[in-house]
């Protein structure tokens, strides 16, 4: 009797992982780890950058003029209540109807920008608003223009909180990009979704580990960046 095809292979997880790692397609060609990693990184970074460019100016204005803190809170609450999977699906359907290709990353990119915006917006507003009013007042009192107050005092002091927002956005985006595989895109999630479908535990686990590592490295790396970007006077020993 022939070996049942497509049935879960008689392999332990380790053997399956080994088998996956020893396949040449894993390391070269259009479906390789490098390609998927590249896709994943590219789309995550672009999403965060674009979202930042879109919301930071407005957020800075809100923060500086000490307005809209309710808006900021509402934004983060709404952002949290929106299921990222759902946003991705809606984005996919809209963009496909508009003529974007199935395999192109625009649907994923749009969804990721939408998800990266709220935490960066809210943290930027909050970061600037929580600068001690006394500090801002004394800066004004020293004769600094509004612009100088903003760039010389408020922004530097708000940097830790702002960067926190960027970090949250980045990690969120990396996680949601994984779901991109559910809308026929690539990224590291491709190994997970295909692994699920093919009952290939090696591919499944390898994909999961890779994207987990990416997320953790991004988080840790960014924390480090946060610390070095924080003005020395604000760095408190934790």
């Amino acid at each position: 009797m022939a070996q049942p095809v497509g049935a879960p292979r008689d392999m332990s997880v380790w053997e399956s992982i080994e088998s996956f790692l020893s396949e040449p397609e894993t390391w070269s060609g259009p479906g390789s780890i490098w390609v998927r990693l590249g896709e994943h990184l590219w789309v995550s970074i672009v999403a965060v950058v674009v979202a930042a460019l879109l919301v930071m100016p407005v957020a800075v204005w809100f923060g500086h003029t000490r307005r809209g803190s309710e808006v900021a809170t509402a934004v983060v609450n709404i952002g949290r209540a929106l299921p990222s999977f759902g946003i991705l699906a809606i984005s996919f359907l809209i963009l496909v109807r508009m003529g974007a290709g199935i395999r192109e990353p625009w649907a994923v990119l749009v969804a990721l920008i939408a998800l990266a915006a709220p935490p960066m917006f809210t943290n930027t507003v909050a970061g600037i608003q929580t600068v001690e009013p006394a500090t801002v007042e004394s800066a004004r009192g020293m004769g600094l223009t509004e612009r100088e107050v903003l760039t010389g005092v408020e922004l530097p002091l708000a940097v830790p909180v702002i960067m926190e927002g960027v970090r949250i956005a980045l990690v969120q985006v990396i996680a949601t990009a994984t779901l991109g595989a559910l809308v026929a895109w690539g990224g590291l999630g491709r190994f997970i979704v295909d692994g699920f479908a093919q009952q290939d535990q090696g591919q499944l686990v390898a994909g999961a580990v890779l994207v987990g590592l990416l997320a953790v490295v991004a988080e840790l790396g960014f924390s480090k960046l946060q610390r070095s970007a924080t003005p020395r006077g604000l760095r408190t020993a934790r």
């Binding site: 009797m1 022939a2 070996q3 049942p4 095809v5 497509g6 049935a7 879960p8 060609g29 259009p30 479906g31 496909v96 290709g101 199935i102 395999r103 595989a181 809308v183 026929a184 491709r190 979704v193 295909d194 699920f196 479908a197 093919q198 009952q199 290939d200």
Partner: protein, 302 residues
């Protein structure tokens, strides 16, 4: 006081959780318990499963639906474990999956699959004349450009073409694996899409893939003027529809259930499937409504 409230609340939640998780594990339908109808994750499977489900309900059976579960890697274990009781299957692919003999002869393939499946407590009822095989489809333009009418015609040009299909395709002997082994085809790239669903269709329409894995009963192929390449080396075995049902359920409910499901199988034709699929894929009609219409048209529902 607040502490007491909190711990009582936590206790209550835990109790609910325990009850819910205990209720979660299905034992399979026995006398009086609802029959769980499952399906694969593509329109045709949902439509046929709905035919079973609605037909059973009309005749007084209690039915639970677990439709759109996924591919066979998910559905087969669910059937074996009793999470679902009956699912519309395809004799050829099923036989291959079970390691049994598959051929172009429906009776022999059915027999082989039946014997193999019974070893795990699932039986096959009468198979339908309706067949749905894997189709390897190109657009009219692609067919004209490369002179394609059979799958063998792909041999010289496969390396320039992109193949799109469901994620499990590279592992399936009626998909990429078989195309490699039987036809010697090595495509430039495989793109993981869905099971002959709108994503695959849109990808073929948009020219993002050159060859798509679809199903022979998908009326959209003809509607779009696409070319379903002829399987000249006979890779695909007979793929008649058949209800795969847990033996336990058959024993519990007896002949009436079997007769009922057999009557649907008998009445289903390949043309029916093609028309139903076209309306589901192209006109985006609801599979449940399509099933109801079919049952009414064929006299199973008033």
């Amino acid at each position: 006081m607040r502490r007491a409230f909190r711990s009582r609340a936590v206790g209550a939640i835990l109790a609910v959780a325990l009850v819910v998780t205990a209720c979660g594990s299905g034992d399979g339908a026995v006398d009086g318990e609802p029959i769980k109808v499952g399906s694969f994750a593509f329109n045709e499977s949902v439509i046929v499963a709905e035919i079973y489900a609605q037909g059973l309900e009309t005749n007084g059976y209690e039915v639970e639906r677990s439709l759109n579960l996924g591919n066979r890697e998910v559905v087969k274990p669910a059937l074996e474990s009793g999470e679902i009781d009956v699912v519309p299957e395809y004799i050829g692919t099923l036989a291959g999956f079970l390691g049994a003999e598959q051929s172009a002869d429906p009776a022999a393939t059915w027999e082989a699959a039946k014997t193999a499946f019974e070893e795990v407590g699932v039986t096959l009822l009468q198979y339908s004349p309706a067949q749905d095989k894997n189709a390897y489809v190109v657009t009219a333009e692609t067919a004209a450009e490369y002179g394609l009418s059979t799958v063998s015609d792909l041999q010289p040009v496969a390396g320039e073409l992109v193949f799109g299909g469901p994620p499990e395709c590279p592992e399936r002997d009626l998909c990429l694996l078989g195309l490699q082994e039987v036809y010697g085809l090595e495509f430039a790239e495989f793109v993981s899409l869905d099971a002959a669903g709108p994503i695959t269709i849109a990808a073929l329409e948009g020219g993002e893939i050159d060859v798509a894995l679809l199903f022979t009963t998908q009326g959209i192929i003809a509607a779009n003027g696409w070319v379903s390449l002829e399987d000249d080396l006979g890779l695909n075995p007979a793929e008649n529809l058949v209800p795969a049902i847990r033996s336990e359920v058959v024993d519990a409910y007896g002949d009436d259930l079997v007769t009922l499901l057999d009557s649907y199988s008998e009445a289903l034709t390949t043309e029916d499937l093609t028309e139903l699929n076209r309306r589901a894929d192209l006109d985006q009609e609801d599979p449940a409504l399509l099933a109801e219409e079919w049952l009414t048209d064929n006299g199973f529902i008033e």
